[in-house]
Structures are given as structure tokens and as C-alpha cells.
Amino acid sequence: MTEARVKKILAVITGDMRIVAGGAPVFLGRDQQECERMARSLSRILDAMAHRLENGTYIIVSQ
């Protein structure tokens, strides 16, 4: 549990560049499968949690 710590968005993975802006590195996937694969890899690489937003965009959040 990590309530006390500040969470941070480490990366954003999306299939549609029009719905995201900067702030964190943005990765563009060609389709949903590719987005999910990238989200999985990034989550393992960064030891961080992958969350899916309702619009199909993934964010990698540090714990």
C-alpha cells in the first residue's frame, strides 16, 4: 500500500495522439493490442502499475 507517497505518471500509451498532450513520455500504438503490449512492457520495465482509462489510453503510474 502506498497511500503516503505521491504517485506520478511515468508514461502514457495511446492509439490516438489527438487525445493526449505532454507532461509524460507518450507512446503511440497502432491498435489496442499493441497499446496493451507496450503498457505491459513499460509496466515491467519501470516496476510500475499499468492503468487503463476509459478511452482506451493506458497510463503507467509509479508506486
Binding site: E36, D47, H51, R52, Q63
Partner: protein, 299 residues
């Protein structure tokens, strides 16, 4: 002439015995380190020796000698600092954090146990002076029993009902019954959690219990205990598998989610029930007029 040696020996033995009995590994799984145990037994022995010489010092009469008890208190405060530091250093490498509340509770318990030991040895040496061996044995048994009841304290099972709950997903939202736990983005992780996860529901009995399990430190302690006892599938790169306890904001009930190494619901229920209620989480809103008034409207 008074039998000073007998008094000191009786007091020290009783105190050291009390310390060893208080050191048994319980559900906190602490202290599990052999060297930590040696350190604590030695300090307990010193504490009991200090307690045991206090009465002979008064009888001597050498009243100023009693002031070293103050020195002893200073030493024991350092024990608390030492424990806290050790556990905080280990905390970074725990897959499931104990939480600072739990650490503080453990550290305070270690300090308090040394005071219990001192009280035991002091009383036993006084009893030896008044009632010789039979008196000393009787007092020792009494104080050890008293110390052991201090040690147990309340557990979550005493103040809450713990029952199995349904773990399911709503989109990517992980839920225990109606309580939202977290958002899990990856499909294969959702599948794993669905297949291997367990969930329990913790229902507080009344307003005091609700206040206890609303404490975030207490919830971390519950998750930590469950994880230590059942094991975890989580590794450093799979934060999705971290056990989490979240509450239903309307009822104050908790949902606990865990992906244990050994999927055994009975063991999980027992582990949650046996989690100690932390001192820092203990709240008694029902002891106040306003708290009772508020609880009457709700419960």
C-alpha cells in the same frame, strides 16, 4: 541480616523469565531474527537486574541508588528508537509495507515490555523480602500472567466480522463486492487476479471498530499480516498483485484483496482476524457524548 542475594536472584530470574515469555513469536512474525532475540533477552536481563536491586538499595538504606531507575528508563527509550530504526530500514525492501503505524506500535511494545520486566523483578524482590520463596513465586506467577495479558491485546477478529467476499471486475476496475479496489489496465493481469485472487469483507461491530479499521495504518497492518502468513505471488515488477484494503465510504466496511501464494480462504480469514489492533489506530468515539449521539443515528 537481609538476604540481599536471594532477593536480587529471585527478582532477576522472574524478570528474565517474563521477558523470554513475552518474546514468543506471534502473528506479528517479529522478532524473527536470532540476533534480535539475543539483543532483547540481554536487555531484558539488564532491566530485570536493575529492577531487582531497587528494593535491596532502599533497605540498605541507600536511597540515592534508586535514581538509576531513571537512567534505565532513558536506556529503554533508546530501545524504542533502535527498533524503529531497524524496521524502517527493512521497510524499503518489504513487498508489502508494514506501515509506520505498525512499526511505531512494535517499537513501543518493546519499550513497554522492558518496563513490565522491571516492575516484575522489583515486585518479586520485594515479595522475597516479605514472604521469602513462596511469596516470590506467587508474585512472579501473578506478574507474568499480567504481562502476558498485556501482550495479547485486541485483534481485528474481536471487533469485526470477517467473511469471504466476491472478487470481480467491472471494466478494468477491480472490485470486492461493491467496493472499488483499483484500476488494473492489463488484460492478462485481470485474468490472473480473477483466477487466483481472494477477497474478504471486514464488517466493523459498531462505531469504535469502524474508527479503527478506517485508519490507513491499521489497513496496511492487515494487508501485511495476511501477506506474511499466506505468501504472495507479487514481485517487484507486478504492483498489480499488491494486497489492498479499501473501504465502502457509506458503510465503513472494508474490502481486502490479495493474490496469495497459497489460495486458502480459511487461512486468510484467520490471518485477518488475528491481526493486532494497533495502538495508534485505537479510537473510542463512543466514549464521548457527541460520538454516542452520532452513532445512535447511524447504527
Amino acid at each position: 541480616m537481609d538476604d540481599y542475594l536471594g532477593m536480587i536472584a529471585a527478582g532477576t530470574t522472574a524478570g528474565a523469565l517474563a521477558r523470554i515469555l513475552l518474546l514468543r513469536i506471534d502473528y506479528r512474525q517479529y522478532p524473527g531474527y536470532p540476533h534480535g532475540m539475543v539483543a532483547h533477552i540481554s536487555l531484558g536481563f539488564i532491566a530485570s537486574a536493575l529492577g531487582a536491586v531497587a528494593i535491596p538499595a532502599i533497605l540498605k538504606p541507600d536511597f540515592t541508588a534508586v535514581t538509576f531507575l531513571a537512567l534505565a528508563a532513558q536506556q529503554f527509550r533508546e530501545i524504542r528508537g533502535m527498533e524503529r530504526k531497524t524496521l524502517e530500514n527493512l521497510e524499503n525492501n518489504e513487498l508489502v509495507k508494514r506501515g509506520s503505524d505498525y512499526i511505531e506500535g512494535i517499537a513501543r511494545a518493546f519499550e513497554a515490555r522492558n518496563y513490565l520486566v522491571m516492575a516484575t523483578s522489583m515486585s518479586v524482590s520485594a515479595a522475597y523480602h516479605l514472604g521469602r520463596l513462596p511469596g516470590a513465586i506467587l508474585t512472579a506467577l501473578l506478574f507474568i500472567a499480567l504481562s502476558l495479558t498485556f501482550k495479547t491485546g485486541e485483534t481485528v477478529g474481536d471487533i469485526c466480522e470477517v467473511q469471504p467476499a466476491r472478487l470481480h471486475f467491472e471494466g478494468s476496475q477491480l472490485k470486492v463486492d461493491e467496493i472499488v479496489i483499483m484500476n488494473v489496465g492489463l488484460g492478462d493481469m485481470r485474468e490472473k487476479i480473477r483466477e487466483e485472487g481472494l477477497a474478504v469483507r471486514i464488517k466493523p461491530k459498531g462505531a469504535n471498530a469502524r474508527a479503527v479499521i478506517n485508519d490507513i495504518g491499521q489497513r496496511m497492518a492487515i494487508a501485511h499480516t495476511a501477506a506474511t502468513i499466506l505468501g504472495l505471488k507479487k514481485d517487484a515488477d507486478t504492483p498489480e498483485l499488491t494486497p489492498l484494503a479499501r473501504k465502502n465510504p457509506d458503510t465503513g466496511e472494508l474490502g481486502l484483496y490479495i493474490v496469495p501464494f497459497i489460495k486458502d480462504m480459511e487461512a486468510l480469514l484467520l490471518a485477518v482476524k488475528k491481526t493486532p489492533v494497533l495502538e495508534s489506530a485505537r479510537n473510542k468515539p463512543l466514549s464521548t457524548g457527541a460520538g454516542r449521539m452520532a452513532a445512535k443515528k447511524y447504527d
